[in-house]
């Protein structure tokens, strides 16, 4: 950076003090301008795709829109009070919470287990590492279609496998008791690749000599794992925790493809509900208001995680 500035405005060698201050000021100004210049591309992109929509949401959340999505009348805080007093919203919120509880801990534990068993350097380790991280290469859309076939009400392969061991077929997506579980299972699988890679890289960065000295001290594999590995990969765990919760809050594509919020609204998570309000029924007002509430919720949750979770994190 500094080198750059000297190129842009080399200070004149012989000058009076005042001139020196003035040129210092211009050089500072230039420095700032240059900084913004470099920031401009991302600022423009953020502005168009994030900040503008955010402001527009705040605006829309205070209005009712007609069936074409045009602003029709001012509603003030009506949209918010409607949401906060409606059963549907709390139902969606509760489903979202259940969905998070079903996907985040299982996803983290599953990735942790897979990483733990694929870290020792054995034959085929590389192959297993490749397999375990494979779901990362599958997009949500493709993954959902694959699972839709697996969960098909009459042609389901999973049900066929179950029938071989004498279990009667399960209505994966059409039974409200199972639907959320089925979507959660698919989501855990989908996120496994990413979680696994982060865990694995965390474990690989634990210094080898720590393991060696613990071995000399007579620590068994379980003790080593819980006393040494876990604390040392806590930054990865924390990161995965925060990111998984945010992404679980925002899960949409798999629900749109697999269940469309049904049956009986049993998979109607917040984001899907927002989509339905805004883009199917063209009520941008209520959709925007809900999106803002979701935004506040995620922000609060993330702050809480940083406040309390980060204390337990050990950075090397």
């Amino acid at each position: 950076m500094e080198k750059n500035i000297s190129l842009v405005s080399p200070l004149p060698r012989e000058s009076s003090r005042q001139e020196g201050i003035a040129s210092l000021r211009t050089s500072r100004w230039k420095e700032r301008a240059l900084a913004y210049f470099f920031l401009a591309p991302s600022l423009i992109l953020f502005g168009i795709f994030l900040f503008f929509p955010l402001l527009k949401s705040v605006y829309l959340s205070m209005f009712l829109t007609d069936p074409q999505g045009r602003v029709a009348s001012f509603a003030g805080a009506d949209n918010f009070t409607n949401i906060l007093t409606s059963e549907v919203f709390y139902n969606s919120l509760w489903i979202t919470v259940k969905f998070i509880l079903l996907t985040v801990p299982t996803g983290v534990v599953a990735a942790l287990l897979l990483a733990a068993i694929s870290i020792p350097k054995l034959r085929l380790t590389k192959l297993f590492q490749f397999f375990f991280s494979l779901p990362m290469a599958v997009s949500v859309g493709t993954g959902s279609i694959i699972w839709m076939v697996l969960y098909h009400p009459t042609l389901s392969i999973l049900n066929y496998a179950l029938s071989l061991i004498g279990i009667s077929p399960i209505a994966w997506l059409t039974d409200p008791k199972w639907a959320l579980l089925s979507v959660a299972l698919m989501t855990v699988w989908l996120n496994l690749g990413f979680n696994y890679i982060v865990m694995l890289s965390g474990m690989q960065s634990v210094p080898e000599d720590l393991y060696e000295s613990s071995k000399i001290d007579g620590s068994g594999p379980f003790r080593t794992f819980f006393r040494i590995t876990l604390p040392l990969i806590s930054p990865s765990l924390f990161f995965i925790g925060v990111v998984s919760i945010i992404s679980a809050f925002q899960s949409f594509a798999q629900i749109n493809i697999l269940t469309k919020g049904g049956p009986m609204n049993s998979t109607d998570v917040l984001v899907y509900n927002i989509y339905q309000d805004a883009f199917i029924n063209y009520r941008f007002g209520i959709g925007s208001a809900q999106a803002l509430i979701l935004f506040v919720l995620i922000t609060l949750l993330t702050i809480v995680q940083f406040k309390f979770g980060e204390k337990k994190v050990h950075y090397q």
Binding site: K3, P41, L45, P67, Q68, H152, P153, F279, N281
Partner: protein, 458 residues
């Protein structure tokens, strides 16, 4: 040492800009085409053909049949070019239209499903086809009166029906024989269906399955002569409340639920795709589906079993009622130059011709909107080959016209359907009683209607 040369920096910025521009580009380009097609209207009509963009929702085999009609039209008319564009399913296409209103990136002609009719009228973005009918002195008397009924509002035809269908009962004749039932006599009432389902159920085969599809509920209402909305099904005046919780609904759901409880009827979810697959695989012996699926269902069962078709079951043998015309109609957008609208009207007329309708009918299973089509030799030939086609036609002709069978109209129809489907699920899964589930859904639909009426200026 500079980290970036000025040139590289410029390139970087430029590529960012291009990325942004590329995002907008896909919206921008059709506009140019549109202005290009609008231009000749002012200069000279003969030189350049008028371009008509037709958005439709016909995919697969049906889509091919639609494209075939378009090709024939284009070959016949040198001065008009129709460009057919598949825009996704009905609701997706309608959503795209909503997004394009107020800009000129929309189509000249769009196929909209029957339940989108109220929205299309309220949008004030269309030219009623009645205007062209009057100007042209077009004779509508040869069109099916039951179909015209559906699309006529305040004595005006707003859009031209194109593809119409109704739901029929499909059954597996071989399974009927095996269960000791008469394969030539499909069950006609709720009671008969329930009995047949019980007899047909054995290991590996359930009596039947109906997809949880709001359309079936609407049809079963009409089949009992019951109205779905107040104010004459929303036809004498804009509807203000839903009548979903009435006896007709409760009776239907009680019947449906009893069969599911007795395990003679499976719950395979909301998709008719899944029920028709199960039917073709012999896992269920009866199902409800649109006549538009007739051809593919008969084809998928070929060599396995014989498919029979029957009328949509009635609650009681002596209840008066009938089916509502389902399907879609074509709407002309009013933000297009007059010449283009006229060209679109030409295309609409072509689609309504007996010859086009005959072709369309035998290729798809949608029934002809004009009675003359039945005189076409290809239709007669098809009827002897696939006698199942006759059921849909008879069912339509035996329907007594009334406000109930004319079908309900409301601006929030797609949403009402979702709410109805949720209510059916709640009943089939033992969460609520039929009466309560339907009452709750009716209440929710009523509040959506109120909100709609608030935002639409009359």
């Amino acid at each position: 040492m500079k980290p970036f040369g000025k040139k590289t920096l410029a390139m970087l910025l430029l590529s960012c800009m291009m990325l942004v521009a590329a995002g907008c580009g896909s919206n921008g380009s059709p506009t140019q085409e549109d202005t290009a097609s609008a231009a000749p209207e002012t200069s000279s009509k003969q030189e350049e053909p008028v371009k008509v963009v037709w958005w439709h929702s016909m995919s697969g085999d049906v889509g091919k049949a639609a494209q075939q009609l378009v090709d024939e039209f284009n070959a016949e008319h040198k001065d008009i070019v129709v460009q057919a564009e598949y825009q996704g399913k009905y609701d997706e296409s309608l959503n795209k239209l909503k997004a394009s209103l107020g800009s000129d990136s929309g189509p000249s002609l769009i196929q909209v499903y029957e339940i989108g009719s109220r929205f299309m009228i309220d949008s004030k973005a269309i030219t009623p086809v009645q205007q062209f009918i009057d100007a042209d002195k077009y004779d509508t008397s040869r069109l099916e009166p039951n179909i015209l009924n559906y699309y006529t509002f305040d004595n005006k035809l707003y859009s031209m029906p194109f593809n119409t269908s109704n739901p029929i009962l499909y059954y597996n004749k071989d399974a009927f024989k095996a269960a000791g039932l008469d394969p030539e006599k499909p069950p006609a009432t709720y009671e008969e269906v329930a009995e047949a389902a019980k007899k047909l159920t054995k290991s590996g085969q359930a009596g039947g399955s109906f997809a949880i599809y709001g359309w079936f509920m609407e049809q079963l209402f009409a089949n009992q002569g019951a109205e779905l909305l107040d104010n004459g099904n929303g036809r004498t005046q804009a509807a203000t409340s839903s009548l979903l919780g009435s006896d007709a609904g409760v009776k239907t759901l009680d019947w449906w639920k009893r069969m599911v409880e007795e395990k003679s009827m499976l719950n395979l979810g909301r998709k008719t795709d899944d029920t028709s697959k199960a039917f073709a695989a012999g896992q269920i012996a009866m199902t409800l589906d649109s006549t538009a699926s007739l051809r593919s269902i008969v084809k998928s069962a070929e060599g396995k079993f014989e498919v029979g078709t029957g009328f949509l079951p009635k609650a009681d043998a002596n209840v008066k009622g009938g089916v509502i015309v389902g399907g879609a109609s074509n709407w002309i957008l009013n933000n297009r130059p007059e010449a283009e609208q006229k060209a679109a009207w030409e295309f609409i007329k072509f689609l309504a011709e007996p010859k086009s309708q005959a072709e369309w009918h035998i290729n798809t299973g949608y029934f002809p909107i004009t009675q003359k089509a039945y005189d076409e030799p290809i239709v007669k030939e098809n009827m002897t080959k696939y006698p199942q086609f006759q059921t849909a036609v008879d069912q339509l002709h035996q329907t007594t016209p009334s406000l109930a069978t004319q079908g309900a109209v409301m601006g929030v129809f797609p949403e009402a359907r979702q709410l109805t489907e949720t209510a059916i699920e709640e009943v089939l899964n033992n969460k609520k009683s039929s009466k309560q589930a339907l009452d709750d859904a009716a209440k929710a639909i009523t509040s959506k209607i109120e909100e709609y009426n608030k935002t639409v200026s009359k």
